[in-house]
Point group: C4
Chain length 387, copies 4
């Protein structure tokens, strides 16, 4: 771990984001049809290595089902609108129509409605009845109080999630969730995060989780870095977590999945996440642009309506295609935002790799994207503006 000196009293490592790196083709190529992009975690097998983020503008019971049918898995936020309101649709429509000046304040009101345990059970069952794998998320603070309702619905996979979740939360006033004992005792497999360093990932892996979410601050709707000064660019965060996975595997024989959460917007980002060591990706913003997305062209993170320190933003999204077109194609645009997993497959084929596990070993280069990529996109936009 080479450090650079920031000043006489401080050093730090250099970190890299997806836009800082590029994948290098190897000396072999392969037919896309021969590439295997399936993902297995715990008892579940998915056609594509995708978890849809637990954002109210992205995952509803309906889109969770659709995403499941398309081969991935949607994560329903159990502390979002779907468990606060019997019918959240009017609120989703209102949020999409709010004046930017008043959006945060009004969202704070809308999200002040209490969460109803019976709705938790009901929403999960709704997804389960469609025959797809069910997955839902809670914050560590509320995990215990909602577990009864969650277990009643026979959820398949639980996500325990926050901006930053650690294996060692310290509190003077309350007894925090002991992830290590909680996860080990729970029958449902748990994915936990976010984290963004080797040590943090390693300690989360030691809780018995089947996967860790890697990503602090990279999300499209996230302003954590500006507000708190905290954030690790994703390429480095993923590679560090992959290093932790290796050590944990060596120590325990257990393979814990690294799921790249946030900061992915194009097919190339999905490929880079895997090439940096991720087993799968969690995405929100790219799916919010689907016609079926519950956000009606908007999405926002769960920190957007924090009562005193909002750290996210309601983002307007262009509606680009169906969920199917976004995930599996065909693409009618060339900007990399459609057919994300067809792109992953082609990227692997172009570089000669057959499985996700092999692709984690792909050669990458540090190659800032600004100039190279910028030209084509700029020109492309000129065309659009010229007409």
């Amino acid at each position: 771990m080479a450090e650079v000196e920031i000043g006489i009293g401080k050093s730090g490592r250099r970190a890299y984001g997806f836009d800082d790196i590029a994948i290098v083709p190897s000396r072999r190529t392969r037919d896309p049809e021969d590439v295997d992009i399936t993902w297995e975690i715990d008892a579940f097998k998915f056609d594509i290595p995708l978890m849809a983020s637990a954002m109210d503008g992205v995952v509803s019971p309906a889109t969770a089902i659709e995403i499941g049918r398309l081969g991935g898995v949607g994560v329903l936020n159990l502390e979002g609108l779907w468990t606060r309101y019997e019918d959240p649709e009017p609120y989703l429509r209102e949020i999409a129509s709010l004046d930017p000046d008043k959006a945060t304040a009004r969202m704070q009101q809308i999200y002040s409605e209490e969460i109803k345990p019976e709705l938790i059970t009901e929403r999960i069952k709704e997804i389960k009845s469609a025959g797809v794998v069910t997955c839902a998320s809670v914050t560590p603070q509320r995990t215990k109080s909602f577990m009864k309702a969650i277990l009643a619905a026979e959820l398949d996979m639980l996500v325990i999630q926050g901006t930053v979740v650690s294996a060692e939360h310290v509190s003077k006033t309350s007894e925090p969730l002991n992830l290590k004992s909680f996860i080990r005792e729970l029958e449902i497999p748990v994915i936990v995060g976010g984290c963004a360093s080797y040590q943090a990932a390693l300690h989360l892996m030691r809780t018995g989780a089947v996967g860790v979410l890697v990503g602090v601050g990279p999300g499209n709707a996230c302003t954590t870095r500006g507000v708190l000064g905290i954030g690790v660019p994703q390429a480095t965060a993923i590679a560090d977590a992959a290093g932790a996975r290796m050590r944990h595997l060596d120590e325990t024989g257990v393979y814990v999945h690294v799921i790249a959460d946030g900061g992915l917007s194009k097919g190339g980002d999905v490929a880079k996440a895997i090439a940096c060591g991720a087993d799968a990706v969690m995405m929100g913003s790219p799916l919010a642009s689907a016609y079926e997305a519950p956000g009606h062209g908007y999405h926002w993170g769960m920190a957007t309506f924090h009562p005193t320190l909002p750290r996210g933003t309601r983002v307007k999204t262009e509606q680009r295609g169906t969920l199917k077109e976004i995930l599996l194609g065909p693409a009618h645009e060339n900007d990399g935002r459609l057919n994300l997993f067809g792109a992953l497959r082609t990227s692997m084929a172009t570089c000669g790799y057959e499985t996700l596990k092999e692709f984690q070993k792909a050669e990458v280069m540090v190659a800032p994207a600004l100039q190279t990529e910028g030209k084509a996109l700029q020109q492309s936009q000129k065309v659009g503006m010229g007409h």
Copy 2:
């Protein structure tokens, strides 16, 4: 101290600013309520580690009192409008209404009015009568001539300040202020600056000052770097000064505070300043956006009206909230410009640190902000423009 070769005849260290770095969460998290952000310097204790910059658009006697009540300390500029005019309000309004083309010239006129010692005493007493800690600034050139008026008002803390202040000023024509003897003999604790290197900070510490201001060129209203070519990015300047603090402590047993002066605009910047080694921050521009700020939506540095070589600019500021909202929240925006010290508290909690002194050891990474952070802000602006 690794140097890079600029050319065959010249080498230099690489320096980093706040936007070049990010804080990395540790493997521990903590409740924000358990975090201690109080700051003690000399006999004074503050709820928040904040000094408000001695700018006429930011600190008036009234806002000094309000900032004191909110837990920080406002520094009144004793060479500004408040000591030149009995009633500076008409001039503040005029400055806020000046045409950009004529602003500098007219400000040069307005600031040519003489400073009145009796107003110095009066202004300090006005603040003192409210029961808050009083703090005021002078330049080294005028320190001696104003001391009688300052002492008459029983000032609590004195700031001796300039773009660059050194412990060894050389003059062929006059006897410069000998900081070392002056400060040691003075009863009032002195904070002195600006400086921006290990050696300069160390020598200022040796004058007997209780704190040094670190920052040359980073301010929002400052053009020193363009005009003079001088400037050290803040992350490096702070870390270097923190290194000097350690050496001075080792040599003398005396802990001299490092106060990051300038270049801070968001909560994340405050957190980064501490993480780089600062004990407290001095801010002007973020407070100029308060409804109560005397500048009526404008602020400017004291070098703005230099008669022959102005090195600052009158900056128009969006009025964002009350001083209370800016310092302590609640925030109704997500861009990190409100609830600056709530953000510091949350940043420390998210990274698992309990005190400012501990947080100085936080891990940081070199991670240019442009891409990662830019996306969310850009998108956020699009929303604003879409309506």
Copy 3:
């Protein structure tokens, strides 16, 4: 090969593009008239080291002839419009008039027309009848099926080309083209690519090709980097391939040409490509701006109309001058986009080099262009806007 650590589990080399480097004058200068920029490959000798890209908006039989007369060689795409339609002109005009929203979809339709072997033969003969060297490109997938038509026309040089072409393509469902045996048995000299690494270039050189195309993702009309995450900046890709050329020469005694394909827009880029080790350049986009270009102000890559994952964009191009003015001058503009090979000659003369082979040894520096170059261009644009 110095690597930087991206994260604990991943390292990579730092890569550089043309905009990251600059050529350094030596201590000698030379008359431009004394500089030799001719290029010899196999039995062919060209006045300028130029291959025109196999893009339908750039190379038609007519422009191939014109480019040949001007000293370079145009590569006709045998899988483009010219071999699908007896008269492609109406389709070229339609493409130039398409609404951006519908361009990709309509181009997919237009390019779904079958390729006609008799047109392959006819087009090549048309060029040959003008007395210039004939060169045409096919993809590896279709090479075998079109060879009869190609050989019937007595083509001079064959280009086997794709986004990435490797010497070892793996397929479970079909028998892929064995480049090594195919090229060795063919009577026509073959140029093959693209590739972008030492290993990939070396293995392509071992197939018996006379030249390799270097460039994955740099092109002006290419979005491979965003869509697939794949791409190597050109300065590094060329230098790596030049390293492979040296090793292959050492192993076999055979000199295989390195042709920089894509990412060149100005005369300075051509000079940098040679200075990084290229023997010649392949360009499309700069030639698309010729009045004679078949694209009528537009050009696009062959991946633009991929049925499920388009990875190129139709780019609108300003029409700047005749092919002669673009290649050989005179220039009436100062932005480096006219008289590209006059610029190469002057660049070599200014640095004191006499031949392309010598110029490959020119000193270069890593010197990001943004600031230095930006100023003049910005100012220049201001002039344009001011009137």
Copy 4:
């Protein structure tokens, strides 16, 4: 000389421009009045270390006289309009009024008029009669043929100048100027350039020149880097030339001046040039913004009207103040473009240095300016736009 690997076949040094570095204050400060910025070269002493560039939009006989009176020296271009036309004023006005589309072509015509030796003598005498030091420039190609006219006017200092001038020009068709014998035999002191590397500077110093011009491609009106790919950022070029000066001094005992030519736009750039090792600066573009400048708000380099490969651009310049205000102040703006040498004096004083020679040893840091400096300027512009 640490090199970075660009690719397997190519390495190069990292180069830095003025915007990449910043000067660090030392632990001493000084009164500006005590600072000495005079410059002595050969038998001449100047109040300020300034040569005004030989550009027709900058130096006329009248401005050469005014610049001389202000303490610097103006260099008249002996191959410009002043020696081609008895009265160049109508042509200067026409150039200032040309439509951008037609500017280059018309300038090519205007500059096709022959140079008249009698005008060379006359112009120099006109300047000489005002009692200031006379200095004028010629290209190496034409030096010999104009010498008689130059000597007739008793010129004080001769500049032999081109984009790149080397001590070893090679030509197959003509006998090039042998700088080494020519300069040694000439009675007038000669300054020669441009150059941009240690070797090139060293060899030019060995010709017997009293100074070398350092700068290839950095100028504000120069597009050499885009057109030819050639250019060395100024901080590195100056430091390299300063290294050559040291070696030449060691070898011969003769101190040859390093004059930073081009790329300077603000006071801070002048300070940085000296801090990197320059003895003086040559500037054009900042002086073109004077009310007295002959270009009427425009300036252009001598390569702008090259008949086949123009490599400069006619730049529109805001008219900012008198020559006196630009060079010596007072400044009424804060952007660093007025009072350039007052800024140099203040910069030296702020860093505690007394002479230019001492200031060459100032500490510098690598600190890209974009973020830090950008904020203030952006905000400043907002103010301007808000009214």
